[in-house]
């Protein structure tokens, strides 16, 4: 086990959980309350990265590499997801000329 891992394990895992939970909540509030779709997208990324941080912290805590591999998958999937999201946003911009989320209210019943 490397020295840096030992140093990391001296930080209580609760600190990581708190930090990750705070980042996650910032992301959630951003998704729910921001009006600009690009910022909403960034907030989704923030949520996923909070999860990544948590996974890595637990992975070090349990001394189990599974969590880190999961993080790889989250990163790859997040990249795919964001590229799809951005592509849809470009479509919306082409058809409406704006990326304001309030514009997306055509579907109501």
């Amino acid at each position: 086990m490397s020295l840096s891992l030992q140093i990391l394990q001296h930080v209580p895992v609760n600190n990581y959980v708190l930090l990750a939970a705070m980042l996650f909540c910032i992301g959630v509030f951003g998704v729910l309350f921001r009006r600009n779709t690009i910022i909403v997208l960034m907030c989704v990324e923030l949520m996923l990265n909070a999860v990544n941080l948590l996974m890595v912290a637990f992975s070090a805590m349990h001394n189990d590499p599974g969590g880190q591999i999961f993080v790889f998958f989250i990163m790859a999937v997040a990249a795919a997801e964001v590229s799809v999201g951005l592509a849809i946003m470009v479509l919306i911009y082409r058809n409406s000329g704006s990326v304001d989320i309030d514009l997306l209210n055509k579907l109501k019943g």
């Binding site: 086990m1 490397s2 020295l3 030992q6 591999i69 790889f72 990163m75 790859a76 990249a79 795919a80 964001v82 590229s83 951005l86 592509a87 470009v90």
Partner: protein, 123 residues
């Protein structure tokens, strides 16, 4: 088991740092020193020939950049799956190698798709 590392273990990395930083500095500064210098109004224009440049350069850029950037991100991120494989290369042996070949070939299929769809064409 704890591996104690002594400073000399980091010698190759130090050399690598020096070389890479040296290369960057060389290309940035030394080329300025050794190249010939000719300054004139025409030379300082954005385009030396053709039409006069007009207006601000901070305009919305072409969607092509967006597409290429997105595709770059997608293909770039997939490289992380090669790190665990590279670390465990010997343990995984032939099975891991074949799996990786399969992964990369599926990956290249996606690349082929992009190229043939014309996503990377500029004109």
């Amino acid at each position: 088991m704890i591996f104690l590392s002594v400073p000399s273990d980091y010698m190759p990395m130090a050399i690598m740092f020096v070389v890479s930083i040296g290369f960057v500095l060389t290309t940035i500064f030394v080329t300025h020193l050794i190249g010939p210098k000719r300054k004139s109004d025409v030379k300082l224009d954005t385009f030396e020939c053709g039409i006069e440049p007009q207006g601000n350069s901070r305009i919305p850029f072409s969607i092509k950049y967006f597409l290429v950037a997105i595709l770059f991100v997608l293909f770039d991120v997939e490289v992380i799956f090669m790190y665990p494989w590279a670390v465990n290369f010997l343990e995984l042996g032939m099975y891991g190698f074949i799996e990786m070949i399969l992964f990369i070939s599926l990956f290249m299929l996606g690349f082929l798709y992009i190229v043939r769809k014309g996503a990377l064409k500029w004109e």
